[in-house]
């Protein structure tokens, strides 16, 4: 078997192992779905009046908030991958994986790709709820871009979670994996457009790369889809993924050093 085919087979095996968990432990997907759903419904109900502010970009707060909840679901799913990896490290399963002849980046790719695919579960449920309570239909292009961004965000969160799992080698790092990503998501234009944010949050949101990611996912739901609103989000995701993957690979190499 060629190296390339062997690597693809390895990635497929890791993705299949992750999906087996979903089939055998149906509750495993619940945390990634429940929290974003509660926050989506809660924030929409409580802060819906913000759309009455002059300068707010839409009259539908559901449409404004759903991309944030999609990112939150992706972040939770990615962080859960980190927690699962920490469990595998604790139980010695990952040591056996490291003893295999598979290249380290291939191992990371398998773990991260599974998170990326799993993130479509909370995204689907959130979108169904959002449309049921009146969120705008973003069009097929807007929806497609939002789902690509969701998968990208899950990739970023998974690389963050795995780098922490390699660093702490314990499931007790779970709150750090989840909270770190949640902060990234909420320190953006999560509640209101940039011009309507106040104080320090406006400055932080302006430089937070995840703001571009949220805006890329939001464009179909609020206004039209443009390449100008899409590419900054994709660049931000790619940059974060490269940076955090490098950190995760460094952590993996340190485990065997």
């Amino acid at each position: 078997m060629s190296n390339f085919r062997a690597n693809v087979a390895m990635i497929r095996a890791l993705v299949r192992r992750s999906s087996n968990e979903l089939l055998r432990v149906p509750g495993a997907a619940i945390p990634g779905v429940l929290a974003p759903t509660i926050f989506f419904l809660g924030i929409t109900s409580a802060f819906g009046g913000l759309t009455l502010l002059p300068g707010f970009t839409t009259s539908s707060y559901q449409s404004f908030v759903i991309p944030v909840s999609l990112m939150q679901g992706a972040a939770f799913t990615g962080a859960a991958t980190g927690v699962n990896l920490a469990r595998d490290i604790e139980q010695g399963w990952f040591d056996r994986l490291l003893a295999s002849p598979a290249p380290r980046p291939v191992l990371l790719a398998g773990i991260v790709l599974s998170a990326s695919l799993r993130s479509l579960i909370p995204a689907t449920i959130l979108l169904i709820i959002a449309f049921a309570i009146g969120a705008h239909w973003p069009g097929f292009l807007g929806l497609g871009i939002a789902l690509v961004v969701v998968m990208g965000m899950a990739t970023v969160a998974a690389t963050w979670g795995t780098s922490l799992a390699f660093r702490f080698k314990s499931q007790s790092a779970a709150p750090l994996m989840q909270a770190g990503m949640l902060l990234f998501v909420f320190l953006t234009t999560a509640y209101a457009p940039l011009d309507l944010l106040t104080g320090w949050l406006q400055d932080v949101a302006r430089i937070n790369p995840v703001t571009q990611v949220v805006e890329a996912a939001r464009q179909g739901f609020v206004g039209g889809v443009t390449w100008g609103d899409t590419w900054p989000g994709l660049v931000a995701l790619a940059g974060l993924a490269v940076l955090l993957s490098a950190m995760a690979l460094r952590g993996m190499r340190r485990m065997t050093a």
Binding site: A35, S45, A46, F47, G49, L50, S172, Y191, W200, L201
Partner: protein, 262 residues
């Protein structure tokens, strides 16, 4: 030593242990302080311009409005953390040893609740300090501060009772921890974060009758305007009702646990 004095001593010792436990275990203390503080900071920055909306109550700033909601959130989480700690004690067999000791069984639960109330009081002081640091005036001054701390401690006690009942019934920390999202559901359906007249239906209608709305308005009034008799009475009645539910359910759960033999 009289039986009453002995009970008080047990309650005081267990209460002190409960506070030490919360301080020493970051997984218990962090959600009470860090999470509500971060949410307060983000919501204040994110929804701060809401004060410009027609129908928004007269306040100095959105932070002034939000402080009561953050305190309520923290004391609900304190009740939940107290329940988790009690469940951990049950899982580790510590509660069984207490039940075998010649002490009143209710003082075992009351000790835990006393600790939860103190932790609740601390969270009130924390958020009042944040408010003062960021220039939020407390309209009712020192009296208002004392009232708020007492009310938050009583609310934490009430929620601690409900957390304790679930811990005693299930005996599993994971079950009590599972209530965490539910806390946010109840909070979002109250006026903790936004005035009811500006919330969307059906949450706005639910918030009108949610007892937590009465509690949060009782906490908010001395911060944003002045003591209001009806609001204070509604807050006390709501806390009393929640406390009664917590007391009765935890007493029943304790009796059930003793009958089952731990």
């Amino acid at each position: 030593m009289s039986a009453f004095a002995a009970d008080l001593r047990v309650i005081s010792e267990l209460g002190r242990r409960s506070i030490r436990q919360t301080i020493r275990r970051p997984q218990l203390s962090a959600p009470l302080i860090i999470f509500p503080t971060l949410l307060l900071a983000i919501q204040t920055g994110g929804a701060g311009r809401a004060v410009q909306l027609d129908g928004f109550p007269q306040v100095d700033s959105f932070l002034q409005f939000m402080l009561a909601g953050a305190m309520l959130q923290a004391c609900m989480l304190a009740g939940n953390s107290g329940g988790i700690a009690l469940a951990i004690d049950i899982e580790m067999g510590f509660t069984d040893r207490l039940l075998a000791a010649p002490i009143s069984r209710f003082s075992i639960v009351l000790g835990r609740l006393a600790g939860t109330a103190m932790v609740g009081a601390f969270t009130a002081i924390w958020f009042l300090a944040i408010g003062l640091i960021f220039g939020v005036p407390i309209s009712e001054g020192v009296l208002g501060v004392i009232w708020i701390i007492a009310l938050v401690a009583a609310t934490a006690l009430a929620f601690g009772g409900i957390g304790a009942a679930i811990a005693l019934r299930s005996g599993k920390a994971s079950v009590v921890q599972g209530l965490f999202p539910l806390i946010f559901v109840i909070l979002f359906l109250s006026t903790a974060f936004f005035p009811a007249n500006l919330m969307l239906a059906p949450a706005a209608d639910i918030a009108e009758y949610n007892p937590l709305s009465f509690v949060v308005e009782g906490l908010r009034e001395p911060i944003v305007s002045a003591f209001s008799g009806p609001d204070s009475l509604k807050a006390l009645a709501s806390i009393g009702g929640l406390g009664a539910i917590g007391f009765v359910t935890s007493a029943l759960a304790l009796r059930g646990r003793v009958k089952r033999g731990g």
